[in-house]
Symmetry: C2
């Protein structure tokens, strides 16, 4: 079953008022925003990735969802599969790093043992407070689409990780992404819609447009690329960026730097331009679960 | 690394005030109690277990932790690995059952895809409200130790599941355990310490005694056994019972039926009697993660 089909079934179950119809990356509960993400070895990270980087990424991807809500970090729960002691120690060291950098306390969790040889499956659930919490569905016709930072760095970093050599900065963007907490905090009260770029710029922009019942047009030439990243289409479909994608009034004075990528308008779907000409959409707009 | 070693390392990290030093099955957050449990195929359940029963057990084990706090059910998050459509559909049907029976709404979650052939790993995080929340560390010297229901049913049910035939009621106790929410709600304001029996009566009683800095003596002859369960020692070390284990003043008028198993006293450790004679402790008091 695809993620979309599974979600459709889940929506027929009794939903909590804070579930927002399961249309958003976070829920609301007891005055907090809550998000949960699971990472799977050989799917979301490589068995050869340093365990400390896996810990970092696991926490950072969850804090990125809090950043998109403009929340302050309250803390996390960790569900961890115990492995060999060397792996576990290195994981704990990376966990200590990422928690310290983001001032994120541990609230609780669970440990399990996996059958021998099973890929690791790790879950973090993160809680944030005092969130302005713009939805992903709030874009208005006429809004501009913006993104923070640069796009495609993590996709390039994955290639470098697989190859075993390349630009250390891009590799770090893949292995130790930075949740844009300060940027999200500044933007959240001002923007109409916001989400983090996790599966790919194009697929996530298309999701924001669909949730907002609008069309969105993106100028590929405007996608901000880091040095060493060349192909904007590959960058915009690669995923794992954890930058903030947001819709705001085109005359809004932005409190943080961001690139203007395009415009929302009445209608449906995503259109792409390059060199001022419409170009066909790629087969895959980004990463989608359950599609193999 | 063992669970105990891992927890020791986690306790050196910055902890949330609601983490209770990672000594309890639940944390406190935003006026709610929160608990999370991960179930692993071939470890906590069988690949041959009906998927609807896996859904039931996954939710029920988490609600059981809320029951031990005397909480009302607020809702759950689900982290689910998408698989083949038949499995997913059957899982969703069991999920609908267990949520309806316990009036438990869905708050959110995450779906992932596992590498081909990987054992399923599923997580539920459950939230409860209005909890009297007795700790597991609150037993007092002179308190009696009690347990609700019968013990060892699920252990016998696991043998039946593996054999493929046997008492349907015991099999159901293994596959569709009942979280003792009403009992927990009635007991929580009155008892000194409470927890659910998940890893085994003896190991969980020893944990309550250790957390309370006391010794506990248990009379094996007093362990309540269901028809068809014969060996009290096997029953008391089998786990998966999800009954409530609690310490209360010996003269407390109990609001729900429970069996009196023994007494807490100053000191440390667990002692067992049978036929009014001390007997040696078994090698394993219950199920422990990370010990192979």
């Amino acid at each position: 079953m695809t993620e979309t089909d599974f979600l459709t079934h889940l929506r027929s179950l009794p939903l909590h008022p804070g579930a927002h119809g399961l249309t958003d990356d976070t829920a609301t509960l007891g005055g907090l925003v809550v998000t949960t993400d699971t990472l799977v070895e050989d799917v979301h990270f490589l068995a050869t990735d340093p365990p400390g980087d896996v810990a970092w990424k696991l926490v950072a991807t969850n804090l990125s969802d809090l950043a998109a809500k403009g929340a302050l970090v309250e803390g996390i729960l960790l569900n961890y599969p115990l492995g060999d002691t060397g792996y576990d120690r290195a994981f704990l060291a990376g966990l200590a790093d990422v928690l310290a950098v983001h001032d994120c306390p541990l609230i609780g969790g669970d440990t399990v043992t996996l059958p021998p040889g099973a890929p690791r499956v790790l879950t973090v659930t993160a809680f944030g407070r005092d969130a302005a919490a713009p939805p992903r569905s709030g874009a208005k016709a006429g809004d501009a689409l913006y993104v923070t930072g640069t796009i495609g760095d993590a996709g390039a970093g994955l290639v470098i990780a697989l190859a075993g050599h390349g630009d250390a900065r891009l590799l770090a963007r893949y292995r130790r992404p930075t949740p844009r907490l300060a940027e999200g905090r500044a933007l959240a009260p001002l923007v109409h819609a916001m989400m983090d770029v996790s599966d790919g710029l194009l697929i996530d922009a298309a999701r924001m447009a669909a949730a907002s019942d609008l069309a969105v047009a993106i100028d590929l030439d405007a996608v901000p690329l880091a040095p060493g990243v060349i192909d904007p289409l590959k960058a915009a479909t690669a995923g794992d960026d954890y930058e903030l994608l947001f819709a705001a009034a085109p005359d809004l004075a932005l409190p943080v730097p961001a690139a203007r990528l395009g415009t929302f308008s009445p209608g449906r779907g995503l259109t792409l331009t390059q060199d001022k000409r419409l170009i066909p959409l790629p087969d895959h707009l980004g990463y989608q679960h359950g599609l193999r």
